[in-house]
């Protein structure tokens, strides 16, 4: 009963607004565009944020990635043809990290090697990672066939290789995959498994195995290929000695990630003369991305707030005019026995209907806009329930807030005076 009366009041409000279609529509426009832009901007922001988060999540939120870089000093040193440039992480760094950081659950050393590989009469350059079994616990990869590296592969220096899809496609093509013998450099490796690889990049940080073709045990890489590399670039031959290209570590707890990263940096600074390493923490990036998103949302919220404020003022303005225009009607209703409260309700409901209707249309517009953006530009957008409900709630609140004053004005109308003026 009470419910049906509520619905009836809303219907009456709508009827009244319908009497002034054009005016009501124009009044609503402020809300339509205000709410529409909020919904659209929220979903674009959410989409961009989510994409960034996903990219970062691929890097592992618990991970600390330490990479070897050629220090500035080393880069500028000119030692002629014969000079060997030495830099980067060492096997000792790896050992020290294992020994001194209990918060690290897994530590995977990485050695990057480019070698000519051969399978039958096929020849190609292969991008090889020398690492341990820890890698596969640290950077989980879907195993497509066979297995990944094992502890014994490392300790017993077994010449086995786990190929990535890239590598497998390059090398094996149509052949039967597992059990094949591949020659890497001059040594024979047995293919024991194939894994899927992820690709992706977040700012300067790359997925560790972005362009990897094969994984082999670190001990094998070290024994077979050594630590010296020869690179040819721009006609010059560059000789380098690098023990480890990367050490990827995983903390046991999110809270330990950043303190541990700092401690590692501290330790490395002690043992390295030059700054020939770089520490990246995906979590820090994640935090940064979140902070950026928060800032974005605040800016967005302010813009939206202002536009909704403008919309609300527009509605209030029209409702005030409407009250003046309908003074006589109010007088008639009061003379018949309507209480002040009922007059307030009538006008408040009209304002709320106006603003909420505007809000609903705005949501419709705001949902279509990101869909169109995604359709035309491929930019990801995400509609969250909050991104829809929040603007709707706001439009309701705007209706109440900006409707109260005109409604109170309406209730103040003196029926005797209202009925006297023609």
């Amino acid at each position: 009963m009470k419910n049906s009366r509520f619905i009836r009041n809303i219907m009456l409000g709508m009827e009244n607004l319908w009497l002034h279609k054009l005016r009501s529509a124009l009044t609503m426009l402020g809300m339509v565009f205000g709410v529409g832009s909020v919904v659209a901007m929220l979903s674009v922001g959410e989409g961009a944020g989510k994409q960034a988060m996903q990219e970062i999540a691929k890097l592992g939120s618990h991970n600390i990635i330490v990479s070897s870089v050629k220090s500035v000093e080393e880069e500028s040193a000119t030692g002629g043809q014969t000079r060997i440039s030495m830099y980067g992480l060492t096997y000792d760094d790896h050992k020290r990290m294992q020994e001194s950081f209990p918060a690290l659950r897994e530590i995977a050393p990485v050695k990057l090697i480019r070698k000519e590989a051969r399978l039958g009469d096929r020849m190609m350059e292969l991008r090889v990672v020398g690492t341990t079994d820890a890698w596969f616990r640290l950077v989980p990869r879907t195993v497509l066939a066979g297995r990944t590296l094992r502890r014994e592969d490392e300790t017993e220096v077994r010449p086995v290789a786990v190929l990535t899809e890239f590598g497998a496609r390059k090398l094996l093509a149509t052949r039967n995959t597992l059990g094949q013998i591949v020659r890497i450099g001059s040594d024979a490796f047995e293919v024991v498994g194939i894994v899927r690889n992820e690709s992706g990049q977040t700012g300067t940080m790359q997925i560790p195995d972005q362009d990897v073709d094969a994984y082999i045990p670190l001990s094998v890489a070290r024994q077979y290929f050594g630590d010296h590399f020869v690179r040819r670039s721009a006609g010059a031959t560059i000789r380098e000695r690098v023990e480890l290209h990367q050490i990827i570590a995983q903390a046991d707890d999110m809270d330990h990630v950043e303190p541990t990263a700092n401690a590692i940096e501290h330790m490395l600074r002690r043992f390295h003369k030059n700054e020939d390493y770089r520490i990246s923490v995906p979590l820090a990036l994640l935090r940064q991305a979140e902070a950026t998103k928060r800032t974005f949302n605040i800016v967005l919220g302010s813009i939206a707030g202002i536009s909704l404020l403008v919309g609300g003022i527009g509605i209030m303005n029209i409702m005030l005019a409407s009250v003046t225009e309908r003074t006589r009607e109010i007088g008639i209703r009061r003379a018949i026995g309507a209480k002040r409260r009922q007059i307030i309700h009538q006008f408040l409901i009209e304002t709320i209907v106006l603003s909420t209707l505007g809000g609903l249309i705005g949501i419709g517009l705001g949902v279509l806009t990101p869909l169109a953006i995604t359709w035309f530009s491929g930019m990801p957008t995400v509609l969250t329930p909050l991104g829809i409900l929040l603007p709707l709630a706001i439009s309701l609140i705007v209706g109440i807030v900006f409707g109260l004053y005109p409604a109170a004005n309406a209730a103040r109308v003196d029926p005797i005076i209202a009925l006297r003026h023609e």
Partner: protein
């Protein structure tokens, strides 16, 4: 005071003053009056004599400056705005010179208006609205807007609306003032019939042939009762 329960309206030394700047206007000045239930009164007098003010007081639209006003034995002088609204809603029907229909509502909806505030459901209200329209001879105009009606028809709609809450007291401020004499006669016959059905009617008018329909004619002068004629 013998028939207390038979008195529907009782004014005792009623005073209504309006402040006009420093000047005070006594729109009602020491008016004492008993109106018996079921009687038909015409209030007459020159412009500004306080007729409308009297009607507004009796109709609970306005409050006295001093004095007592009792409706069916109950003093309403001290009631607040809400309570007065409730009196109007439940006990009083108003008819105005300029009809005062709500232009954007249909005849049906205008008649139903008091029922909405009485909390009637839509179905029952519609039924009652049709019934009242039939009573005033406008059942074929239910879906028209006031602007599509003649003056007499509009006043009949207003009367139907005034009857919706089945009030004991009908108040009419110059109900024929905006109508030609033939149409005015029609409206007066309708009021006479309602009086015949037991309604108490208080009507303000300037015209003696209209006042002739009433049993009691109250003449106002400068906010006071000049004389009362009964027939």
């Amino acid at each position: 005071m013998t028939a207390q329960d038979n008195t529907i309206v009782q004014l005792d030394r009623a005073v209504k003053t309006y402040a006009m700047g420093l000047q005070k206007v006594h729109a009602l000045n020491d008016v004492s009056l008993d109106i018996k239930s079921g009687s038909f009164w015409a209030v007459m007098g020159s412009s500004g004599s306080g007729k409308s003010t009297l009607l507004n007081i009796v109709g609970c639209l306005d409050r006295l400056s001093s004095g007592a006003y009792l409706v069916e034995g109950q003093n309403v002088a001290g009631l607040d705005d809400n309570a007065l609204s409730d009196r109007r809603l439940r006990q009083i029907g108003f008819i105005f010179q300029s009809f005062n229909l709500i232009p954007q509502l249909t005849v049906q909806r205008n008649i139903e208006l008091p029922l909405y505030y009485l909390g009637w459901d839509a179905e029952r209200s519609r039924e009652r609205g049709r019934e009242l329209a039939r009573k005033v001879g406008l059942e074929d105009r239910l879906n028209h807007r006031p602007s599509e009606l003649s003056g007499g028809q509009m006043q009949r709609v207003a009367i139907a609306r005034a009857l919706a809450n089945d009030p004991r007291l009908l108040l009419a401020d110059e109900p024929t003032g905006n109508l030609d004499s033939a149409t005015g006669e029609q409206i007066m016959r309708l009021l006479r019939d309602l009086h015949g059905e037991g309604k108490t009617i208080v009507m303000v008018t300037h015209e003696s042939h209209v006042a002739a329909y009433a049993q009691n004619r109250l003449h106002m002068k400068d906010g006071r009762i000049d004389r009362i004629e009964s027939s």
